[in-house]
Symmetry: C2
Subunit: 354 residues, 2 copies
């Protein structure tokens, strides 16, 4: 595929000034990638200035949520800029697209798009440990037509956001026993908008009660732990690492898979299994479960300090605990180029000159 670099994109990059404070996912890079799909074919891609999209008011995405997205990061890695396992994001996005009847973005298109954005935004990748350029590819159905059928036209974008380290701090989780983020036979293992929409109410309610995130239970049995709204869940019991096994309603996190690999490599015992919430709470109360944490691209590894379940509060003995700290450091050392990339996870990006 050939990618057209619009002169206006280069101009907006030249004119861009990094704000003092970045936050996470709020400052947007001044360029974006776009490709269109119509009549069974992808157009050539373009790097264009960041700016408003023109969408028909009847576009499928606005009514029927036919959209999916990804989240990955570019890091300052040694003297270059590296992407962490981007091919897994490409594969997950293809899976998400198929779940919603959208044409999967071919891996080469996905990779070229992410690379061209990062290559041109290399100067915007901040340099302190934990900082990064957060990258958000997304795909949506744009055909203007009110029938509940798959769109025949799509647009694929990659936008990016220079971001500070995202430290939610020690998190207090609310065991969500009423609402579900996705159904059995639904879209839980796909990264599609509807799952996040369904979780907004729980998030806002628990914030009012002083909690930070929902801990979602499996919608089939309402009894075993699935994950958080945007992170996977881990618990440490007697020194062993436990995480819910993939079951169709959990999103398979790239961080989750990487931590499992690192843990095994560090000689930590690992269990992917069903975790009954009532058992878990008892083990936290007794101290057998000494630490718990959540993981994802944005926050990497975030300690959980408390689980709240109706009137009861269950405090974790250690937050952060030694396992979370060790795994976080091991992962960041690879992502930022301080440790050898023994698993071949990093892909360096050739920086564009302009």
């Amino acid at each position: 595929m050939s990618i057209k670099i619009q002169p206006e994109a280069i101009a907006s990059l030249r004119g861009f000034e990094m704000p003092e404070r970045l936050g996470f996912g709020t400052v947007m890079a001044p360029v974006m990638f776009r490709a269109r799909y119509q009549d069974g074919r992808w157009s050539d891609g373009e790097l264009i200035p960041y700016g408003p999209l023109a969408l028909d008011p009847a576009a499928k995405v606005l009514h029927y949520a036919q959209s999916c997205f990804e989240g990955l990061k570019a890091y300052r890695c040694g003297s270059g800029v590296g992407l962490f396992r981007p091919e897994r994001n490409a594969a997950r996005m293809a899976h998400s697209a198929q779940r919603l009847c959208m044409p999967p973005v071919p891996e080469t298109l996905f990779m070229d798009a992410v690379r061209v954005v990062v290559a041109h935004c290399a100067g915007l990748v901040p340099g302190n440990s934990g900082e990064s350029l957060y990258i958000r590819p997304f795909l949506m159905g744009t055909q203007p037509d009110l029938s509940v059928t798959a769109s025949r036209a799509y647009e694929f974008y990659v936008i990016a956001s220079p971001s500070e380290a995202y430290h939610p701090g020690n998190m207090r989780l609310w065991v969500e026993r009423e609402d579900s983020r996705a159904a059995v036979g639904g879209t839980g293992d796909a990264k599609v908008g509807g799952n996040y929409a369904a979780s907004l109410l729980s998030i806002s309610q628990l914030k009012a009660r002083g909690y930070d995130q929902s801990l979602w239970l499996n919608p089939g049995n309402r009894r075993t732990v699935d994950e958080l709204s945007g992170m996977n869940f881990f618990a440490v019991m007697d020194g062993a690492l436990h995480t819910p096994a993939l079951n169709g309603s959990i999103l398979e996190g790239v961080t989750r898979e990487s931590l499992l690999t690192l843990a095994r490599d560090l000689g930590i015992e690992v269990h992917e299994r069903e975790i009954d919430i009532d058992d878990l709470l008892k083990l936290v109360a007794s101290g057998t479960c000494s630490e718990a944490f959540a993981c994802g691209t944005a926050a990497i590894v975030s300690p959980i300090s408390e689980l709240g379940d109706s009137e009861q509060r269950y405090r974790l003995a250690q937050a952060p605990g030694p396992v979370a700290t060790q795994l976080r450091q091991a992962l960041l050392d690879i992502q930022e180029g301080r440790a050898e990339d023994r698993f071949g996870w990093m892909q360096m990006v050739q920086v564009a000159r302009f």
Copy 2:
């Protein structure tokens, strides 16, 4: 609330030519209503020309599907133009908005918006029985911010589509035993994009097998009938009308409620209850269930001729059956002003002159 009528809106109405063929939901009226919400307040509304929306690429609706919609119709009713029970759509939209943590559109804003569109598009309401102006209000989160939290800015639109009668014909339904459109504790009883996104794959697969629509089972028990992707389900057994009771995962259709009222009024026995799919299939096979139909604003009442379940096909004895035919006619007679509006369902709209 005061609504500003843009001169350009009037100009596009004057310049509009109705196409020969309308279809359903494909020809868009040349004007639309817009109001914005920010900092806890709704702006004044405007009637503006129909045209592309400008959305920031990081707008919440595009990533997290924070959007909901409604569907209602304006009919030629006697010598005027009438809306059918629009206050129920206003209430349902408020419910949908709250499920996704969005500010509900106040009933007066909803009604004023629908009325101003219909008042100006009265000339576009086609006149044959079954034809109508289909009206699509929708609300979406527009704040550009990638965090999974509710938007702080919203836009509310009403678009409209002059439409032919929508006759899907006798429908063949596929009993969907794998996928779900919404979770228990999810968003099934709200009219939000994610439910429709989740149903697209099933719809496309069954079309390839020669079916027309999925018959969704309850995601909690995978055993009782919920509804179709955009219609509620009814079956006639020994002359009595049966429909699944509302259970949190079914959308409460305005047509469903109206048909139940009409049926009771016509002396038909009515049961709102759990309908076990295996029982239903047996009763179809034995002929006890002689007819079945689906109902919704778009298609009004649509007969079901067949239920397909893996290799088995179950044919309904009558499609359309007498109950479906009687109820459809009774409803249409009220909507189109041939019968007395005994339940106070119609709201006439004062036509705008320009």
